[in-house]
Amino acid sequence: MTGAPVRREGPPGEGTLFSLSRRGRRAWSWPELDVPAVAVGEEFARKAPPGLPEVAERDLVRHSTRLAQINYGVDTGFYPLGSCSMKYNPKVAETVASFPGFQRLHPHQPEHTVQGALEMLWLLEEALCALTGMAKVSFQPPAGASGELTGLLIMRAFHTKNGEPRKKIVIPDSAHGTNPASVTLSGYEAVQVPSDARGLVDLSALEKLVDEEVAGLMLTNPNTLGLFEEEIQGIARAVHDVGGLLYYDGANLNAIMGKVRPGDMGFDIVHMNTHKTFATPHGGGGPGAGPIAVSNRLEPFLPAPTVGRREDATFFFDHDRPDSIGRVHGFFGNFGVLVRAYAYVFLHGGDGLERVSERAVLNANYLAQKVKDAYPLAFPGRPMHEFVSTAKPLRRHGVRATDVAKRLIDLGFHPSTVYFPLVVEEAMMVEPTETESREVLDAFADAMLQAAREAESDPELLRAAPVTAPVRRLDEARAARNLKLRW
């Protein structure tokens, strides 16, 4: 039922494109030069040509096609990476993004020639504000981590305006690694608040931790354990009482659309990952888009330019923002990705987005209850759109979470995230998303249970896995020791 890439017979691996290169072969073609030829002056000229491959177009096509065939995507099969929302990417989004009226817009075109694009952004902004309970959006951040850093720089600008920037940002110990990394880059110090026995932020520890050195707190809700932070109002109060701000990491927004809005929970800044919640393709690791939305009091600090609307219903890039933190992207963010996000949001509408979250949470709960006897949930609460199990019971057979993951590859599936969040031993973080059918979930649960049985009966089968993939386990230590980073 899956189309996972399989190992083929024959010589090991696919050679690089360079190995196909023959001097004088070519794919390129240019028209005859129709103006006098000019050469670059000796002082600036390149002395030897770059060692790029010389191949026929057919070589290029077969090579790249073969690379695609040894890769696994959502279109290939189930892809339950936690906090990544690997849902189906609607094809219509690719169609609309390729309209020349979007794809061929030059970023230095004057505003009156891109009114349709600006209106699209304006409408998307209104939708994102409605969804999050926020007041104003910046589309500049090109990914979630960039949204985080942008939000933290906004916090810095806000506090600086009110006296001094403050020193610390509080993050839960279960947070994604980008959170603390962004904190450092924004000039703050990351302070961890522990999780309690329920896997939630320990509110009493937080209350002791916060003081007037705290600029803010970053939180995902539901958190990276897939659990809703039920005491969110207490958390918000604790941070707001000392004058701090709340940052909502939108990695898990897919769980709550239409059910609760970050703004209503007390958050001041929100980033969204369009490649997660709004099904823009993950691209093998990007491009994403990480628009941020803020409450009224933070609106003056957003990166300039923002999108503005005049009384006469024309639109403009608003550069006149004296308190702005400045640009965080060369132009206006990943516009081409935002076209796709627009298509997704308005295709679904308010009712459809609420159904998305309902089905996503249903799928995660259904799958969790099917596998939890073999892979106990890390914490007892009801999971939302994802759950974190542990493969710890299998350790007595000498089998670890990574072995289960590799065995799942042989059984035809992309594994879940493993070893994250860090607070759970042998973590397996599973996010099925709403676009998977019950049959797929059943088959995946069967595979996980089969792997658990095999861990007892034939642990070597797991430790040796995968054997069907295009390559077997790779020597990562050797890759880091004997660096070979180019041909």
């Binding site: 177009e57 093998g284 933190i325």
Partner: protein, 441 residues
């Protein structure tokens, strides 16, 4: 529900399997005081046909680089994108995958990135490339962070002929990282005298620079390196078929906007941040890096490597916060460079240079138009001084079917930055020159 495949029976039975009777119960852990009790203030969903019509209507209200003859540059260029690039990069096994955390199932993306890294090294004459960053300006920020880490110094010197958007982005991030970029003046459109000292972390030169002018970057970099600073070059990847590469010029770190490598204009994104460096800085580099290794049977394969630099391992001590990057753009760039090869790249560079030179000659024939920086050599872009407001001239030319270029603040707003790529024909250039002549008359 459009893309969720659940039937009503599925929902009922799946809820039952969870011991629940209603969907609402799935959300019981949300406190009633914050839980929403009314629908979202958004329109209802529509069919695929309707969303296509909606977006077609919005798109039709834009002019674009197919219906306007494009002479605009300023960091984004109307280069030809061969059919093969997106026929391959848009294979859905690639574009519907994510960061290759499970390398056994991700050899396609990993190998494509390894080949991309290799080609960037070949292009730049530097030793190591990462697997992509967001865009040119944010790549410069990362390069400066590397320079800080390497030198333990704070000052950052930027040539006045670097694209001002790059400087703006650097200034934004500098507020967090604790530096303020110092821009040195370049009154003749290039070079100038950077205020070097033993507290300088980075010296940044763009070559060809924002005005299109070729910089004597080698001299500036030699002086910078003498003081122990890192020399950072902002380069144009498509210039490197004809121009000496950053490695030969003496750059320690080179960054670029990679949009021109097979990516569409897209109103400014998604683009491609390129960053290459010398091996001395490999452990300070940001983001993903792919390395070659072997599997347990000795078969060649690829993995993400040196991950101890990265946020998911090193958290607050990571070299950068970047996670999701611009992988698909890097894959497209690798296909495009594979299509070009060394000769195609050289021919392309010759075309850009020759056509830009021809366009400049034609424009300079017009009374009252001169080069903003007379006597300076350029590659595919040059700035002219017009006898009237460049914004007015540009807007007039839109009505004639031309996207004339990027108006600059220089010369009292009478300066226009004009870019000429291989796509422009002699006829288009002649037509453009006569339209400009009429517009300034």
């Amino acid at each position: 529900m459009r893309f969720a495949p659940h039937t009503d029976d599925d929902v009922r039975e799946m809820l039952g399997a969870c011991g629940l009777r209603s969907i609402d119960q799935l959300f019981d852990q949300i406190p009633p005081s914050v839980r929403r009790d009314r629908p979202l203030e958004l329109p209802d969903g529509v069919s695929e046909m309707e969303i296509v019509s909606d977006l077609k209507a919005l798109a039709s209200r834009n002019r674009h680089a197919e219906d306007l003859v494009c002479f605009a540059g300023g960091g984004a260029y109307d280069h030809y994108v061969p059919s093969v690039v997106w026929a391959l990069a848009a294979r859905s096994e690639l574009y519907t995958s994510y960061t290759p955390y499970q390398p056994e199932l991700s050899q396609g993306v990993l190998q494509a990135l390894f080949e991309y890294q290799s080609m960037i090294c070949e292009l730049t004459g530097l030793e190591v490339s990462n697997a992509s960053l967001y865009d040119g300006p944010t790549a410069l920020v990362e390069a400066v962070n590397m320079a800080h880490a390497a030198t333990k110094r704070r000052r950052v010197l930027v040539s006045g002929a670097v694209d001002p958007r790059y400087v703006e982005v650097l200034r934004t991030y500098g507020r967090g990282a604790g530096y303020e970029p110092e821009v040195w003046e370049t009154p003749e459109g290039r070079q100038g005298a950077p205020p070097l000292g033993d507290d300088v972390a980075a010296v940044i030169v763009q070559h060809p620079n924002f005005y299109g002018v070729l910089e004597p970057a080698g001299e500036l970099f030699a002086a910078a390196r003498e003081t122990g600073a890192r020399a950072i070059q902002v380069f144009d990847p498509l210039s490197l078929g004809v121009l000496a590469p950053p490695g030969d010029v003496g750059a320690d770190i080179a960054v670029a906007e990679g949009q021109s490598l097979g990516n569409h204009l897209n109103l400014g994104g998604p683009y491609l941040g390129i960053l290459a460096a010398r091996m001395q800085d490999v452990r300070r580099m940001p983001g993903r890096i792919v390395g070659e290794t072997v599997d347990v049977e000795g078969r060649t394969g690829y993995v993400l490597t040196l991950q101890a630099r990265e946020q998911h391992i090193r958290r607050e001590k990571a070299t950068s916060n970047i996670c999701t990057n611009q992988t698909l753009m890097a894959v497209a760039a690798a296909v495009y460079l594979g299509w070009l090869g060394p000769d195609g790249l050289h021919e392309l560079g010759t075309r850009c240079l020759s056509k830009a030179s021809y366009a400049a000659e034609r424009l300079l024939e017009i009374e009252g138009i001169e080069l903003l920086f007379p006597g300076t050599p350029f590659f595919k872009e040059f700035a002219v001084r017009l006898p009237r407001s460049a914004i007015e001239v540009r807007d007039t030319l839109i009505d004639r079917g031309y996207l004339a270029g990027v108006p600059l603040a220089e010369a009292g707003g009478h300066a226009l930055l004009v870019a000429v790529t291989e796509r422009r024909t002699r006829n288009e250039i002649d037509g453009f020159a006569s339209a400009v002549g009429e517009a300034v008359r």
